[in-house]
Amino acid sequence: MAELDTSGGGGKKGGKVRSKKASTRVDLTAMVDLAFLLVTFFMLTTTLNKPKAMDLIMPDKDDKTNLQEPVPETRTLTILLGKNNKLEWYRGLVDKPLSPPTVDNFGKDGIRKVLLEESKKTMDASGKPLIVLIKPSDKSVYSDMVNIMDELNITNIQIRAIVDITKPDIALLQRDNLY
């Protein structure tokens, strides 16, 4: 296969001096080893480096269009993001919450359970989906925001918004030592 026709000059007559036929076979094993090593390397580095993108859509800040509907407080759930990767949530309004503000964690046994329960409760009571308001405080970090958006994606809550935190909310976080 890899041999070349080395009998060149065979057609010549009278060629008496016959050079010894050296095989042109090269040992390719080492080359193949190296090639596969590099292939493996490139394969692993290319496929693992693909970043994922989470879409975040902020509410339009345009003041001219006055299409904002009032939000029924019975359907809202507010999540406050505090320090040390903790959060606090309540239903309704901050000054007269429908459920007492509760401190919770991220993750499966924390806010996800709450989101699933509350979402179901609201759906049963009003037939409309739950509205989640996220208020990150100045002490929260970026990963908190990504985590909570991720939880909302997991629990399939479509109506959510990131809004600015208010003074009463900060007071609430301070009371619970989260600010």
């Binding site: 040992d27 390719l28 596969f36 290319t46 693909k50 993108a53 800040k61 970026y142 925001m145 985590n147």
Partner: protein, 206 residues
């Protein structure tokens, strides 16, 4: 008694075909591999269960870490055009030489204020690497350079590619929220309300 001679067979196999395949694959992977761009600040991206892939063209990336903001856009020509556009739209006008434009276009991300951009571009390879970039000034006043950069980038993407530019945010997990908030506010000022947050894939749902 004549001995039965067992003919010795060579154990060498023909490696040519294997070698061909291996190098073909190698060439393919080398060509498709994107050179990894080093982030100007160490960024630990947060994990999520999101599986959507980040688009590869017409996308600008804002790198946020250590309270600094860096800006970058995909595409050599786009970066070059963006610098010219920025120079024209900035007040007072700035002009860049051809050499500076080429140097600028070869940078995947940058984070220097406009007033030191000339000096920064004049630095050589190693010096540029060691130079600590202070980040693009972002604030709520009128001299918000990030606003101007994003605006210039959007204009040139529209002009060259006839597409809307998408904005992605690559933030450090430990970055405090106020920095993120000012960046988002800056983008919303020009009605960019949709972003992609770059996340790593969480291996298994918690």
């Amino acid at each position: 008694m004549p001995r039965v001679k067992i003919p010795r067979k060579s154990t060498a196999i023909d490696m040519t075909a294997m070698c061909d395949v291996a190098f073909l694959l190698l060439t393919f992977f080398i060509l498709t591999a994107k050179p990894r761009t080093d982030d100007p600040v160490p960024i630990d991206i947060p994990a999520s269960t999101e599986k959507l892939l980040l688009p590869e063209a017409d996308i600008a990336t804002l790198i946020i870490g250590q309270k600094k903001v860096f800006f970058g856009i995909e595409g050599y020509e786009l970066r070059k055009a963006m610098l010219v556009e920025m120079g024209n739209s900035h007040n007072p006008k700035m002009s860049f030489t051809q050499d500076e434009a080429i140097k600028f276009a070869s940078l995947p991300t940058f984070g220097v204020p406009l007033n030191v951009l000339h000096q920064f571009l004049a630095l050589d390879g190693e010096d540029k690497k060691n130079y600590t970039q202070p980040g693009i000034p972002v604030d709520t006043t009128d001299t918000n350079e990030l606003y101007e950069w994003v605006h210039a980038a959007r204009i040139v993407t529209r002009r060259l590619d006839d597409k809307d530019m998408r904005v992605s945010i690559k933030g450090d997990s430990k970055e405090e929220y106020p920095t993120i908030k000012t960046v988002i506010a800056t983008l919303q000022k020009q009605n960019v309300n949709k972003f992609a947050l770059i996340t790593a894939l969480r291996s298994a749902p918690k």
